[in-house]
Point group: C2
Chain length 388, copies 2
Amino acid sequence: MTFHQVEHPLLVIPGPIEVSDDVLFANASPSQSHMSKSFTETFGNTIRMFRQVLVTERGQPIITAGSGTLGWDMIASNLTEPGDDVLVLNSGYFGQSFSDCLEAYGAKVTHLKAPIGQFPSREQLAEALKLKKYKMVTVTHVDTSTGVLSNPQMVSEVVRQVSPDTLVIVDGVCSVGSEEIRMDEWSLDVVMCASQKGLGVPPGLCLVCVSERAIHLVETRKTKISAYFASWLNWLPVMRGYEQGKPVYFATPPIQLICALYTSLKAITSRPIEERWSKHKEASLDFKQFVTNELGLKQVPNDPSVAANSMTAIYFPDGVSAPDVIPKLFEHGIIVAGGLHKEIKDKYFRIGHMGITAIDTTRHELEKVKDTLRNIFTAIGHAAKTTD
Amino acid sequence: MTFHQVEHPLLVIPGPIEVSDDVLFANASPSQSHMSKSFTETFGNTIRMFRQVLVTERGQPIITAGSGTLGWDMIASNLTEPGDDVLVLNSGYFGQSFSDCLEAYGAKVTHLKAPIGQFPSREQLAEALKLKKYKMVTVTHVDTSTGVLSNPQMVSEVVRQVSPDTLVIVDGVCSVGSEEIRMDEWSLDVVMCASQKGLGVPPGLCLVCVSERAIHLVETRKTKISAYFASWLNWLPVMRGYEQGKPVYFATPPIQLICALYTSLKAITSRPIEERWSKHKEASLDFKQFVTNELGLKQVPNDPSVAANSMTAIYFPDGVSAPDVIPKLFEHGIIVAGGLHKEIKDKYFRIGHMGITAIDTTRHELEKVKDTLRNIFTAIGHAAKTTD
């Protein structure tokens, strides 16, 4: 049987994203035992391929049912002990929520907050690191609320220079699979994400990858981990077991979602990962040029160097608001997202361009979005600029 | 398109279980926004139908990505404060693991442990409750490691009599959807389960249902909840929002799995829930009679009154072990589970009979299992008894 997914409106929010028929068909795999040879092989290969996506040889993937939010719990509960200082590089809604999670586990959070649309500079970070000894620095690679792209490589360079033992934690929820990440080369300690964005899988998985240094820290911490499902000490034997072909039980894995992830990672790793990053960059650049040149609209990130390649956050022009645009896109079968950052919530909207929507240009999905936006803005009197 | 799942061996372990084509097809639903009208309606109805399965009007369902194990974290982190005493009625592996989880959050656990194959008596429970004031009593409804069926109604009666404020927590991972549970009538405070057993959905969901008393306790606790993803304070507004048709964001829900659960619950609630319990009971009784009368084998539960209706745990006869039976079943396209309880691990095997395998007799799945077992035991020299 050739499986084709049901016809549906085009989903171009910054996650969940459109997924391929192959991936959805894998999500409809028949029941199988979590201890079976076939599932063990699938899970083992999934773990190995996830390493390739992060360009790491030494990182330990941990893949469980959950979401990106659970990834924060894992980081907070395993890597901080009550009273530990954490520096959160805050570029939007998700930096704030990560911080709430860290505080739930007793960490003391200091924010290094950039104005909306910006990211803290190398100098600001170096200065902050000199003032206090931090257990970890967290960076939201792409803050889905603002579309601001941070620079984990720069963050890690500064940390290794000023405070070499401090862990570098990357929230890659809206970047893994779409933005350049080199876990080993950049000396990152944790990269975490979820399944429903750049990895092109339905939501329901939490994925983290942990450095040797971070694992050593978990294994030698003074206080007990005050969590059970989130404790990496419970998951490490499971992940190592599946990778070695010997299933270990802790909690029943989300079998069909792992099969879906396996299918997506097979497609992703069939080509060099650099090519995937470039394709996302090209699609993003093209879309952003359209927004600037044809719609004449401003983006939330205040400079192209801090604008994500996975999504675009666009300010409405004066006198226009969400109800003028979003329902009209919906009438044309296109679903985008409204604002999320509370300070500017009603002033902008967000479009995701990740996975097959970005890289498979034969689907013409972003063309359709551009054409429809052009028509809508022309019709409501914001005449499109011509590019010549 | 009519969807048919791929041909595969018959899975009769005590979860994951066989799921219907409709449910798997729903698990392959196309991407949709978690904030959309259509998904909000699906999620809201799913929450309402889950209440029906537990025969509760006042219980508050919380449905998230995860597994049964995460349900333990939710109970431990929300309902206990460090130092609180908890009484664990321990009838196997899962009572022990639940206890490990409670201790991770600082609870002090007392075990009321029955010998393998048994469940603590009314008198033992009453006595234990008189010795110490417990914050909660936990009971594993069906311990998947032993197939022992406990009696949450009796537990609750004794608790309400001897220590009325103590919470009654039911781990219903291997019972919800297959065993009788009446949350309101029995005065249960939490019933928790996962998706891959009696509810007939792929694994990947954690489902809990919380009484008004338990919610009041969470909202008035003295210490902060030391968890974020597991904190019900974060999920309550989300669940209430979706049920009222107004989506609220905390973490991206596992959309496709919720669609699958919706589809399964629609089928389950299309008939009186009592009928579903009876059908599981009939299937179980028939299978257990076959084990006793035709195979002449002993079960792990030492009396029919403490034997689950969702599964059967069977001791091998003397001189026979797992490698004599399990691979032969596999050759005939049948997958069963080995032992799990460490004290008797190699001495028994387990067969699940939940969901469509138990209630849709036109599938003839349990007939196939019985025929194959009969042939295998005859061939290895354990001649089947005749029933006359």
